[in-house]
């Protein structure tokens, strides 16, 4: 959206009136809303969602704080440029459905992003309140979730207006946020979209990775349902590059392909003892619990329920794993992270929630060895203490070992969560598809077209491990670009 459009929308009468209805001082005096959360002692006994959402009254009051800035700084922090003041002002005037629709102009998955975006590093970090007033920013994430949930609960999730069927078949590889948002946009434009998913469930990381207590499955299912109603077909248990080749997709008549296969490969640290029983990747742990429901006694899939669990890493995946471990009964659940807390890539809220739930943080510690018993089960970990040295390439201060400072801690389960690499399955299976040395697919930065003209790619397979909102944004941009290219072809 350009500046003129933004300004014109801001100048609409209802927004004028709303701005005039209260003095700035009245707005800035309101304290930031507090999210209602389940009590930590209770929530570690189950998988219910921790954040309960705002009531309409809370949402309206929080929306009232927003100053509807002439130059909304918040928008500069949003990776996809959501019209933030417009949706917030719709909440203030009580038109929650319009707020949801405003969100959907830009974001395909607001109910998801409202829950999982690192707002404290995006929109909220740029908010006028924080930047200029040195006050707590508007709770943009909570408001986004509120509007999206309201729409979902109202049963009035409007299907977008659909262009007539144009008969052109489009294939999507992977059903994570990138694939889903692309599918929606293409279906809307009249294409016949088929989404191929390797696993037996649709949703990618939203289903197998992010736990129920943070992102309930039903939230994702509503979105998948809407896509089904829009005519999108889902084929599970189908691996492109294995079950179907690139040539097969052509033979089946697909005219465009989006590769949104994610960054699914877990990294390990290659230290002694890492293959002991009880040491596993966070992907394995979370997949067992989330996708296979292994904590449920009725499920055939087993999972360790360690009493002293160490999770290695400081990202969202690490927080999700350690909080899951607490819920599966760990008395001692530890985060082991080689830098300090300030460098942790996890969302602030997850760190905060983990602490409330009794998770210990061993920052500036790095595992160097795991020790097992005679049956090959992990029993101890050796940690090297670290201190912060000079900033590295990523701008973060790199940790260096403190000579001789080694500590041994008893553990019976270790979850390694030190990052993921792109899934090489698709790149390996398609001759001539250009990839970087890291294994991500090379695309044109604007159109997301790969080195093979009818293949586009987005999300983690292009960015390495990134975020839901970026994957979603990629899906939408790829859809726009592919549509344009296909129209040109039709015209020619």
């Amino acid at each position: 959206m350009n500046k003129e459009e933004l300004a014109a929308q801001r100048a609409e009468q209802w927004r004028e009136n709303l701005r005039k209805s209260k003095k700035a001082k009245e707005r800035t005096d309101i304290p930031r809303v507090k999210m209602t959360e389940l009590d930590p002692a209770y929530r570690v006994t189950n998988r219910e969602e921790v954040n309960r959402g705002l009531t309409p009254e809370q949402a309206v009051l929080e929306a009232t704080r927003c100053l509807d800035c002439v130059e909304p700084l918040c928008m500069t922090g949003c990776p996809v440029g959501i019209n933030i003041p417009k949706f917030i002002k719709n909440i203030e005037r009580g038109d929650f459905l319009s707020a949801a629709r405003t969100l959907k102009e830009t974001s395909a998955l607001p109910a998801v992003c409202g829950r999982v975006c690192p707002q404290e590093r995006q929109c909220e970090s740029k908010c006028f309140y924080l930047q200029k007033l040195k006050k707590e920013p508007i709770a943009i994430g909570y408001l986004e979730r509120f509007a999206a949930d309201y729409e979902q609960a109202s049963g009035e999730v409007a299907l977008p207006e659909m262009e007539p069927d144009n008969g052109i078949k489009i294939a999507v590889v992977g059903s994570g946020p990138c694939g889903l948002s692309f599918a929606g946009d293409m279906a809307k434009r009249g294409y016949r979209v088929t989404v191929f998913e390797a696993l037996h469930e649709i949703g990618g990381v939203l289903k197998y990775g992010i736990p129920e207590f943070r992102l309930p499955n039903r939230i994702v299912d509503v979105e998948i349902d809407s896509l089904r109603r829009m005519g999108v077909e889902f084929v599970t248990d189908c691996i492109v590059g294995k079950t179907l080749s690139y040539d097969d997709l052509h033979e089946m008549g697909f005219k465009g392909i989006l590769v949104a296969s994610g960054a699914g490969l877990p990294r390990f640290m290659n230290i002694p003892g890492e293959n002991l029983n009880g040491v596993m990747s966070s992907n394995e742990y979370l997949t067992r619990v989330n996708l296979m429901d292994a904590a449920n006694p009725e499920s055939d899939t087993p999972v360790y329920k360690g009493h002293r669990v160490a999770v290695i890493g400081g990202g969202n995946t690490a927080m999700d794993s350690v909080r899951t471990a607490r819920r599966l009964g760990a008395d001692r659940a530890m985060i082991v992270y080689r830098r300090s807390e300030a460098e942790m890539p996890a969302r602030q809220e997850e760190v905060h929630h983990a602490k409330q739930e009794g998770v210990e943080f061993l920052t500036l510690h790095n595992p160097i060895e795991y020790i097992g018993d005679e049956r090959g089960r992990v029993r101890q970990m050796k940690l090297q203490k670290m201190e912060l040295g000079e900033p590295d390439a990523s701008g973060r201060r790199s940790p260096v070992p403190v000579p001789g400072a080694i500590e041994t801690i008893d553990v019976d389960e270790v979850i390694v969560s030190v990052g993921v690499s792109p899934n090489p399955l698709v790149p390996n299976a398609i001759d001539g598809l250009e990839v970087t040395p890291k294994g991500t697919i090379v695309v044109n930065a604007d159109t997301l077209q790969s080195s093979i003209p009818d293949i586009y790619a987005g999300g983690d397979i292009v960015r390495g491990g990134a975020t839901v909102i970026l994957a979603m944004g990629d899906g939408r941009r790829a859809a726009a670009a592919m549509h344009e290219a296909l129209q040109k072809q039709q015209g020619a």
Partner: protein, 263 residues
């Protein structure tokens, strides 16, 4: 959902299932496997594709009931559906004309061995198959193996059928008798370990197909990881076949018992 179209009992605990899976039938090669799941609460378990019929659009699985999930699958009947079947997974077996190939399978390793025997024969190799089991009833697929082997040697621990002795004795007998260019071994980890030690002694290149615990089968979880040549490899994408002389079989043995106390 994949329909079972035929079922045959090879023994009390071993069944052959013919399953509708047209896309997999078309794409699969010898050595590939599938992951199946029975029921909405079911576990994902890996099974080798024993053979495929592209025309009929079916694949054949040979399943030995060893635990809950395999027993559930074995209990299904023609007309029933398997909740999920995904594949073909893994790397296909490297097939070429090596000369003389000894294929040895123990226990349920015989099922995944069959397609390799077949492909090795088709590539023009002299194929000698050694089948081993504790006792006569557990020897499976002998008839099918004979179809593609120049010779089949049967070994039983108790001597109730074929020769009395371990699989290694059968293999060594062949090695002493003639020049062997390649050995392929599939079976319990202990068996593969000893076959590998034997062929190392005689300097015979050996391929072992590893049967680690798996979850997704696409490289996503690392449950299937194992040390080969000092490096961690994922059996589902880098394997399942590896140079046996490089495999850390003791680690494999240990990792297979991973969930023993949990299940």
């Amino acid at each position: 959902m994949n329909k079972i179209v035929a079922k045959e009992h090879f023994s009390e605990k071993v069944v052959k299932l013919v399953v509708e899976a047209p896309l997999i039938a078309r794409a699969r090669k010898a050595g590939h496997f599938v992951i199946v799941r029975v029921g909405e609460k079911g576990e994902r378990i890996p099974l080798t594709i024993a053979s495929a019929d592209v025309e009929a659009g079916t694949i054949t699985l040979v399943v030995q009931a060893v635990g809950k999930s395999s027993a559930k699958l074995c209990a299904l009947n023609p007309g029933d559906y398997i909740t999920d079947v995904v594949g073909p997974l893994g790397k296909a077996t490297h097939i070429e004309r090596f000369g003389t190939v000894v294929c040895c399978g123990g226990g349920v390793g015989c099922a995944p061995l069959l397609p390799i025997v077949e492909a090795m024969k088709a590539a023009g190799n002299r194929v000698i198959t050694v089948l081993a089991a504790r006792t006569k009833e557990l020897i499976i697929l002998e008839e099918q193996m004979r179809k593609y082997s120049d010779e089949v040697i049967v070994m039983t621990d108790d001597g109730s059928y074929g020769q009395k002795g371990l699989v290694t004795q059968g293999v060594e007998e062949v090695i002493k008798r003639e020049k062997v260019d390649l050995c392929v071994t599939i079976g319990p980890a202990v068996m593969m370990k000893f076959v590998s030690l034997l062929t190392q002694k005689y300097n015979i290149p050996t391929v072992a197909s590893l049967n680690t615990i798996m979850v997704d089968g696409t490289g996503m979880c690392g449950a299937c990881r194992i040390t080969v040549g000092g490096k961690t490899r994922f059996v589902c994408i880098d394997g399942p076949e590896f140079d046996a002389h490089q495999v850390n079989f003791d680690e494999l043995l240990m990792r297979l018992s991973s969930y023993k106390d949990v299940e």
